[in-house]
Symmetry: C2
Subunit: 111 residues, 2 copies
Amino acid sequence: MTNDDQLDAAFSALAHPVRRTILARLAKGTAGVNALAEPFDMTLPAISKHIRVLENAGLISRERDAQFRLCKLETAPIQDIAGWAERYRHIWEARFDTMDTLLADMKEDDT
Amino acid sequence: MTNDDQLDAAFSALAHPVRRTILARLAKGTAGVNALAEPFDMTLPAISKHIRVLENAGLISRERDAQFRLCKLETAPIQDIAGWAERYRHIWEARFDTMDTLLADMKEDDT
DNA sequence: TCAGTAATAAACCTCTTGGTTAATTAACTA
DNA sequence: TAGTTAATTAACCAAGAGGTTTATTACTGA
């Protein structure tokens, strides 16, 4: 899988509030599918599918423990996304600087 | 639009390599639709649709200049995503620390 | 071994996405 | 005003996403 494909998978997995909520829950520790499904008004197979999407994107891993499938958060794709976003930071910081200058100029006008 | 909806829109807009490439191009400066379409083996209406997706997600804005529609990168949704990812940073850093400790322990065993 | 619990698989449905071609709008230019 | 360039709209299509219900697998524990 190319780097681009990995980003595709991560971004599109994260483009659903249910899946982001599941990740937020897993940030507090591993959990089984039923536990993850609990907050949602949705059937278990639907949650199961969301979990598979997260797994395929590498955002979680799973381990069988007796009749449970424990899900665990994996941060690598989130780090990739953070890295992707960072490439644009200089732009918004530059614009913020411009705004700073603008505000400073306005202040000068006041005095 | 709720914060969740904004993240949905941003993540799903970014889940396509063509759209990420367009943003990368716009990071270097504004451009018209034909210029943005140039690198892709794809019809203009297809690019036009990608651009609309980016616009609806707030990732770009547009200004009419004569017969051109100049596209401009907007960083707010990228900042939102960077902020979202940051909430997970403590986890991967904690795991990295654990790995550090592990490696240190292994080193001690060697001596 | 049998009942119960955890989870997935299969089949199906509807809506969305990503692309096409053909037609249209809007502005510039000769 | 006619032709050209820039871009969008409309109509269509195939494939994918997200959900359902029903059936099945896999394990636990009495």
